[in-house]
């Protein structure tokens, strides 16, 4: 075989080998990219699941998808404040681990009742909680949902108290205040601590109404704004108008006794 023929064979071999090599290289890179993408998605999903322990799943989804609809906005929202009575003094007498276990179980029961009625808990402070209805999206039944959630919370507390009683532990008592109004919703905070929450006068009113439950000796109070939206199936008892901090006029509240529907 002469040199010229060898050269042509070499060129031919290269002409086949080089594209094959390039294709092999490209396929390898593509495979790597796919693997990298799959791994990134797996981590993102894990992060999302972890994050959902701290914020409503809908909000987490919006944040992870980079959608702009978590920007602060004014919205009609119904706020439900619930606070345990006498729990602080109970804490002083109980083992810390038992105290936390009781509190966690209590929150789990309450969270179930709230979630069942389209609400979500946005804050847990000590033994108190703030649940929002209609904060994530328009909810025309938000007042009704909040009251039904509160009635289910009442039932859930009775059931949980049975468990506590079986363990010779003191039963829990709570007070719930519900109010509705236009508030600002959004992700608020500073530095590394941010949360999705609400701010505005109606939030303060809801909190004060929860405070009134202690004063008026009932477990569940709603304001006139809530009462106006409820149908006759809800049995309400008007309470004497009461003064609350930050309001010039006394506010009218109603004790929710039951729902016959």
């Amino acid at each position: 075989m002469n040199d010229s023929a060898s050269g042509w064979i070499l060129v031919g071999a290269l002409a086949i080998a080089l594209p094959a090599f390039a294709t092999w290289l490209w396929a390898g890179r593509a495979r790597q990219a796919e693997q990298l993408h799959a791994e990134t998605r797996r981590r993102l999903e894990q992060l999302q699941r972890e994050f959902e322990r701290f914020a409503p799943p809908d909000l987490v989804e919006r944040l992870t998808e980079g959608r702009g609809d978590v920007a602060p906005q004014r919205r009609q929202v119904t706020m439900l404040f619930a606070d345990l009575r006498g729990f602080t003094s109970l804490c002083d007498r109980l083992d810390p681990a038992l105290t936390v276990a009781i509190l966690n179980d209590y929150f789990r029961h309450m969270s179930g009742a709230i979630g069942q009625h389209h609400g979500h808990i946005t804050e847990l402070v000590g033994d108190g909680l703030l649940a929002l209805f209609g904060a994530m999206e328009t909810n025309p039944w938000q007042c009704r949902d909040a009251v039904l959630a509160a009635l289910d919370m009442r039932k859930a507390l009775v059931a949980y108290n049975e468990q506590l009683k079986a363990k010779s532990l003191q039963p829990l008592q709570f007070g719930i205040g519900i109010h509705s109004g236009e508030v600002i919703v959004g992700v608020m905070g500073a530095g590394e601590l941010n949360k999705f929450t609400v701010t505005g006068d109606p939030v303060n009113v809801a909190s004060r109404v929860e405070g009134l439950t202690r004063e008026l000796g009932v477990d569940l109070l709603v304001t006139e704004e809530i009462r106006k939206t409820l149908d006759a199936g809800f049995r309400l008892r008007p309470m004497p108008p009461a003064r609350v901090k930050g309001k010039r006029e006394p506010i009218q509240t109603y004790h929710v006794e039951s729902n016959d529907a």
């Binding site: 593509a30 796919e34 993408h37 809908d58 025309p140 039944w141 009704r144 199936g233």
Partner: protein, 363 residues
């Protein structure tokens, strides 16, 4: 983040298959595939017709490719294990690569999807999800990107029909087509080689002509006419119209219950057009304005038969749901109402969700 196929929980079937030889023969004659869904919805004439229509329907303004992508994305977004699995396998059968399907599922904006396709995928997700609810501007966005107005409307129609079918299969918890999925998976190589032929056949099966009978006047004449009229000419419009006419003509559930179910879905999605149409139906049944308002506010009505009362709060939960929860709640409904009424309620809820999603786009 929309769930992937293996992440969707799925309950045991709610309804047993109803083998009706006459209907099976009819299905075969009309190109149906005698699926798990077809057999389970067979007792309801209008639901089985609508399901067959969705499975064999044709499109005149969009390609089979867009049609397949829209079906996949809508099923994934609705977390419908049945439809998602079937759509995925169908695309594999047509020779779509696993990587391409994954990119659509994972919403990865790679070069394989062009700008128009990406916009269409986003539109599918937004309309199926409706969180927040879309409006006519979203349709205009598709037109702006180069889709014809008719194509944009046809995409919306098929997403709405997809939402209908997805809800039927989710609420009856139809068992996935494991046989079909396994068969396609086992023959991947063969399908890759036959891809051009398969795609050609599939495209031919879905390609339709404008429907001269589906005029704006004809579509606009019946229930929810104002929502259907803009779909004039589209071959799929007849499926929607027949379903709406059939649902309201059926006497398994009271007319008041059905109209209230539509009104509740409309209010959930803040769709004034749909609510107005539901109010018109309720008014024709003797409801006064205050009574309608009271029923919508309380999710109950004295005119709704006692057995059907639980459908009003339930239908609200068919708008946005977690699959496991809504399947469990629907099981409670079926236990209380019996299978025939439960199937009818499932059909009405699915249809209300589809109709209101279409109606939002005319606002």
């Amino acid at each position: 983040m929309a769930q992937l196929l293996d992440q969707i929980p799925w309950a045991e079937p709610l309804l047993a298959p109803d083998i009706d030889p006459a209907w099976e023969a009819e299905l075969k004659r009309r190109g149906g595939n005698g699926s798990e869904v077809d057999r389970r919805v067979a007792p309801s004439p209008w639901i089985r017709e609508a399901c067959l229509g969705v499975n064999t329907g044709r499109a005149c303004a969009i390609s089979a490719h867009l049609f397949n992508v829209a079906a996949l994305v809508t099923a994934q977004e609705n977390a419908c294990r049945y439809c998602y699995g079937a759509s995925r396998s169908y695309m594999q059968m047509l020779g779509y690569s696993e990587a391409y399907i994954r990119r659509i599922e994972q919403d990865v904006h790679l070069a394989e999807l062009n700008e128009k396709e990406r916009a269409m995928v986003a539109f599918c997700r937004n309309l199926a999800r409706s969180r927040p609810r879309p409006a006519s501007a979203e349709l205009d966005g598709l037109v702006h990107l180069g889709y014809t107005r008719e194509a944009a409307r046809e995409i919306a129609l098929w997403i709405a029909l997809g939402c209908f079918y997805n809800r039927i299969t989710i609420l009856i918890a139809s068992p996935p087509e494991h046989g079909f999925e396994g068969w396609v998976s086992a023959k991947r190589l063969k399908f890759l080689l036959l891809a051009p032929l398969m795609r050609f056949q599939a495209a031919r099966r879905r390609r339709g002509k404008r429907d001269p009978a589906a005029t704006a006047a004809a579509l606009g004449a019946g229930v929810y006419g104002p929502v259907l009229a803009p779909l004039a000419g589209l071959p799929g419009a007849a499926i929607m119209k027949a379903a709406l006419d059939g649902a309201f003509a059926s006497n398994v559930l009271s007319r008041a219950t059905k109209a209230l179910m539509f009104a509740i879905v409309a209010r959930s999605l803040d769709c004034g057009t749909s609510e107005a149409e539901a109010r018109r139906l309720l008014a024709a049944d003797g409801f006064g304005d205050a009574e309608i308002e009271k029923s919508l506010a309380s999710l109950e009505s004295a005119r709704v038969p006692a057995a059907e009362a639980r459908l009003l709060p339930w239908v609200r939960d068919t708008v946005h749901f977690q699959t496991a929860q809504i399947q469990s709640r629907t099981r409670e409904i079926a236990a209380a109402l019996g299978n025939a009424a439960a199937l009818e309620a499932i059909g009405v809820a699915a249809l209300a969700n589809a109709t209101v999603r279409l109606a939002m786009l005319v606002e």
